[in-house]
């Protein structure tokens, strides 16, 4: 019955205006009683809405001004009404003139109990507060009608947040206003007064643009020790209250810092850190310990417009320093927030000055420290294991027993330290510093064991596994590794030597061997020994194929065997592509392209979605080279498409599960994509490159030990600078190119072993020369080309055509 009723109710409400409801009902319902009920409901609906409206109006109706006086003050107008008090404009006759004040009158029931004593103490403290950013306290007492009141300087001003929004104030201007507020709060804290209810409604900006803080001492007056938790919690404004206040604990200065954090967050983004402030669920989840959303993630076009910026621009501004500051202030743990408001203000000031902020430095060391803290037991266990392995080599004993013991230790090391700890570490921002420590500690222990050339296959395999892990930490190319390829090759070599002869024993051993071979091949490609690399991979591919077919479920370093099969092909293609680049061999590029297509086919067939993105990147490189060598635009267009899809899949990966490595990969693909856009004369190239560089700098900033990332950043600068120079933005272009060159550090420390670096350096020099030439600095341009030539001439694979090309450019310069 109710379903029928509801259906008719909704349908008759949705009738077009020209349809008569009564007629329609008659036509659609032959039950007279039901029809009557529908009509009554419709009427009820209209009346209910009407009454809601009346109630809303009643609430906003002006309220009577009390007749009496409060001490010497007589209220004349209502200014506002809070949870427990009402504020009036009030006057006091002093001699021949009237003094106007803000008069806060509290509910009479407050005056009960020990309130009076607290009130008087607080008034004495408030009377001492004299600060340009605090509304001056004048007087306080309890009226003859028993109502406590406070008189303060009357501030004619606008609420902090609406003031900012009405004027579309920029981020900088908002921060400067907040700095005034923080001065006031800092001053009060130093006078041992905590505000406990900081919120935009308590901050007014007067006609001169001066921030004035209101209501100091109120929260303290209203909540006594004796009062229960719940009462105290109810007094506050949950939106700005710290977690400790929400828990009903007594709040110290750290609570004010938290509230400042919420205010800052809202000033910057226009949003509450924990979602919709009106939502009950958001409130509950926040009380349950939800983390604030990253400020750049909540930017809306409206909020950006109110701050005079584009959404992307605003998001970029918020990323990094400001995020670090806001999140430090909003830490759940009061001890991890800024220790004083002054420190927070100093960071905001540093941000305005463009200097590095302390929140960021500290958050890095904090994360590292926290990692060690959280994993103290595991780190200690691993360190002990590493020590024991070394020690075992010194104490002699029964050979067999010793090997058994060592095996156990090695396994412990492999599992505990290198697997769990390292993988844990590598997901953290700032992982590289911890990696370095791990690598150094482990290496000595492993070497001692290696020196004894153990005979037991299991020990050999375990030791090899440990060496491989170590080598990957040290030198895996295109990862957040330490970039120590020499040491890495050596350790891969040791692993391979240990595995030689025991290779056939199991699939796991084969997997290890494969890892070591591909590791070496990758580093060979990196050093420019392309034919060596191709030969090594060619030997490994067959093993990889058989392993993928025979043991599809086998996981090698957390990846299925098919992944390693794909990876072998990618490496082979990479070696072929680089080799073809040296001799400008179009057929060689086509061969590499075929190899990559094989890799893509395997990865599609085995649904390794994650790897197909990286294969796309290589396919794009191949097309790019084909385009360069043949001069045909269609190849560059194909490269652009492939780079786009590689970038998009990296972005999806990164967004689905953000890790530093995925962020790096995304930034890397974005650089490539931006460059491809530039090559194809697309308009978005420079903004893309700029975004990519920012992204890469963000990863590098939190992993300062990673050499690989330093070069990734250099590559970002180099591409951006080159694109700028080529499109007549010579000045910024040259600046960026110089930053790239600075990051590369060549030629003073020329490292012929790192071909990528050399190629990058030469490219930077060439673009610099182009920019300098445009500026008319022909001599400097020629010098830059000399350095490029000198760099390219070094190394095992010297591209003759490239040198010839650079020489031609130089000759053209000299001719001018």
């Amino acid at each position: 019955m109710i379903q029928r009723l509801e259906d008719l109710f909704h349908r008759s409400r949705e009738l077009p205006g020209d349809v008569d409801t009564l007629e329609w009902l008659k036509a659609n319902c032959d039950d007279t009683a039901l029809r009557a009920e529908v009509l009554l409901l419709l009427k009820a609906h209209a009346n209910a809405s009407l009454q809601d409206g009346h109630a809303a109006k009643r609430q906003s109706a002006p309220e009577a001004i009390p007749d009496g006086t409060f001490g010497p003050y007589r209220p004349v107008a209502l200014l506002g009404r809070g949870g427990m008090s009402t504020v009036y404009r009030a006057v006091r006759r002093v001699g021949s003139f009237e003094q106007t004040v803000a008069l806060k009158v509290m509910a009479p029931f407050l005056a009960e109990g020990e309130f009076r004593r607290r009130f008087e103490t607080e008034i004495r403290l408030l009377a001492q507060l004299q600060h340009p950013n605090i509304a001056r306290f004048l007087d306080g007492g309890i009226s003859s009608s028993g109502q406590p009141y406070l008189a303060t300087e009357l501030i004619e001003g606008e609420r902090f947040d609406t003031y900012c929004d009405h004027r579309n104030l920029s981020i900088g201007a908002r921060i400067r206003l907040l700095l005034q507020v923080s001065e006031a709060v800092d001053y009060a804290h130093r006078n041992l007064i905590v505000h406990r209810d900081l919120k935009p409604a308590n901050i007014l900006i007067d006609g001169q643009g001066v921030a004035k803080l209101l209501d100091f001492g109120m929260a303290t007056m209203l909540a006594s020790e004796a009062q229960q938790t719940v009462t105290r919690a109810r007094m506050l404004t949950p939106r700005y209250a710290s977690p400790e206040q929400l828990r009903g604990e007594r709040a110290g200065t750290a609570a004010d810092i938290f509230s400042m954090g919420v205010i800052l967050y809202e000033l910057l983004t226009g949003a509450w850190p924990y979602g919709d402030p009106a939502s009950m669920a958001a409130g509950l989840e926040r009380a349950a310990g939800a983390e604030p959303a990253p400020p750049q993630a909540v930017v809306t076009p409206e909020a950006a417009a109110a701050r005079g910026a584009e959404p992307r621009q605003l998001a970029r501004m918020l990323k990094g320093d400001l995020t670090a500051i806001v999140l430090k202030a909003l830490d759940h743990d009061p001890a991890r927030r800024y220790a004083t408001v002054r420190e927070m203000a100093a960071d905001l000031d540093r941000y305005l000055q463009g200097q590095p902020v302390s929140a960021r430095r500290q958050s890095f060391s904090y994360r590292a420290a926290r990692f060690l803290q959280r994993n103290r037991r595991r780190v200690a266990a691993a360190a002990t294991a590493a020590f024991l392995i070394g020690a075992a080599g010194i104490y002699s004993g029964v050979q067999h027993e010793r090997e058994q013991r060592r095996l156990a230790q090695l396994r412990n090391l492999d599992q505990t330290f290198l697997n769990e700890v390292y993988h844990e570490v590598s997901r953290l921002p700032g992982a590289s510093r911890v990696s370095l420590m791990i690598a150094e500690r482990v290496k000595n222990s492993l070497d001692a064991l290696f020196a004894e050339s153990p005979s037991d296959p299991k020990t050999r395999a375990a030791l090899a596994a440990a060496y491989i892990q170590l080598a990957e930490i040290q030198g895996e190319p295109f990862h957040i590794s330490l970039g120590d390829s020499g040491a890495a090759i050596e350790n891969y070599g040791r692993a391979a030597a240990l595995l030689d002869g025991i290779q056939s024993s199991s699939d796991e051993t084969k997997g290890l061997w494969l890892r070591s071979q591909l590791g070496i091949a990758g580093l060979k490609v990196r050093s420019g020994a392309y034919s060596d690399a191709a030969a090594i991979v060619a030997g490994a591919i067959e093993v990889a194929r058989r392993l993928a077919a025979a043991a599809p479920k086998l996981e090698i370093n957390g990846q299925p065997s098919a992944y390693w099969h794909v990876r072998a092909y990618v490496l082979l293609g990479h070696a072929q592509l680089r080799g073809a680049d040296v001799t400008r061999d179009v057929q060689g590029v086509r061969r590499a392209l075929q190899t990559f297509e094989t890799a893509l086919a395997i990865s599609t067939e085995t649904s390794l979605a994650a790897t197909s993105g990286s294969v796309q990147q290589y396919i794009a490189y191949a097309y790019q080279l084909l385009g360069d060598f043949t001069g045909e635009a269609q190849y560059q267009e194909k490269a652009l498409e492939a780079h786009r899809s590689a970038m998009e899949s990296a972005r999806a990966d990164y967004l689905s599960k953000p890790t530093p490595q995925r962020q790096r990969d995304y930034a890397d693909r974005l650089i490539d994509y931006g460059w491809a856009q530039h090559v194809c004369h697309r308009s978005g190239a420079i903004p893309t490159l700029r975004d990519a560089l920012e992204e890469m700098k963000a990863v590098a900033g939190s992993n300062p030990q990673s050499e690989e990332l330093r070069l990734d950043v250099a590559n970002g600068y180099a591409r951006l600078g080159a694109a700028e120079v080529a499109t007549n933005r010579v000045r910024p272009g040259l600046t960026h190119l110089r930053q790239a060159r600075e990051a590369i550090h060549l030629p003073a420390s020329i490292r012929p072993s790192d071909r990528e670096l050399v190629v990058l350096f030469a490219r930077v020099q060439e673009s610099l020369a182009a920019g300098l030439k445009r500026q008319g600095a022909l001599f400097e341009a020629s010098r830059a080309l000399d350095q490029a030539i000198a760099a390219v001439e070094v190394g095992p694979s010297v591209p003759g055509w490239r040198i010839a090309q650079l020489r031609e450019e130089k000759a053209a310069l000299s001719a001018r």
């Binding site: 019955m1 109710i2 379903q3 509801e6 109710f9 909704h10 409400r13 009554l40 409901l41 419709l42 009427k43 009820a44 609906h45 009346n47 209910a48 009454q51 809601d52 009346h54 109630a55 809303a56 609430q59 949870g83 427990m84 509910a107 229960q228 938790t229 719940v230 009462t231 919690a233 109810r234 949950p238 929400l246 828990r247 009903g248 919709d276 009106a278 939502s279 009950m280 669920a281 409130g283 509950l284 009380a287 349950a288």
Partner: protein, 187 residues
């Protein structure tokens, strides 16, 4: 007013893991606590504009959060439970203050902006309780929607999510239920 009693903790957990019959026990046990909260709220100021459900629940949460195991209760259960509890609490409060009110005590406190014609501290609440029971017998979900929306302060989206229905369904439920309640209480 401390943490919830130990036996309540256990019952909350059983209820969370699907033992629906425990709910009545829980209500009985949590009742005094909640009642104290609600009463303090309604007493606090005789000119409260509307019942601040969010702040009320904030307090409720503080208590429930002390029961660590409460975390094991899934969201949906937690919220529907709390909403229903809130209704019982407010209605009981209204019942007790009926006498005081008749002597010209407290002022009118609208239950919610969208149910501003209902006095949260007055006799309306008793009539509302009966009407909601009736509604619940006819269409259980509509009563839940009213509880979540007006007794707990959920948004329409949250209500939809918690009940596993679409937002337009909640909108329509509310339109109908509000009219239906007005018809029962006022005409």
């Amino acid at each position: 007013m401390g943490a919830l009693p130990q036996d309540l903790t256990e019952r909350l957990r059983r209820w969370g893991s699907g033992d629906g019959a425990v709910l009545n026990d829980i209500v009985a046990a949590a009742y005094n606590e909640l009642h104290a909260i609600a009463a303090a709220y309604l007493r606090r100021e005789n000119r409260l504009h509307t019942l601040q459900a969010t702040a009320l629940v904030n307090e409720l949460y503080i208590r429930l959060a002390r029961v660590r195991q409460a975390r094991f209760i899934d969201r949906q259960h937690f919220y529907t439970f709390t909403a229903h509890l809130m209704r019982l609490v407010l209605i009981d409060h209204a019942r007790r203050s009926k006498a005081a009110k008749r002597h010209g005590g407290a002022a009118f406190i609208p239950l919610h902006d969208e149910l501003a014609w209902i006095d949260a501290a007055g006799e309306d609440m008793i009539a509302l309780d009966h009407a909601l029971d009736q509604l619940q017998a006819e269409d259980e979900r509509k009563a839940r929607v009213i509880e979540l929306r007006y007794f707990l302060g959920c948004t329409n989206e949250e209500t939809a999510e918690l009940l596993g229905v679409s937002r337009p369904t909640v909108d329509r439920d509310l339109e109908f239920a509000k009219a239906w309640l007005y018809r029962r209480l006022r005409s």
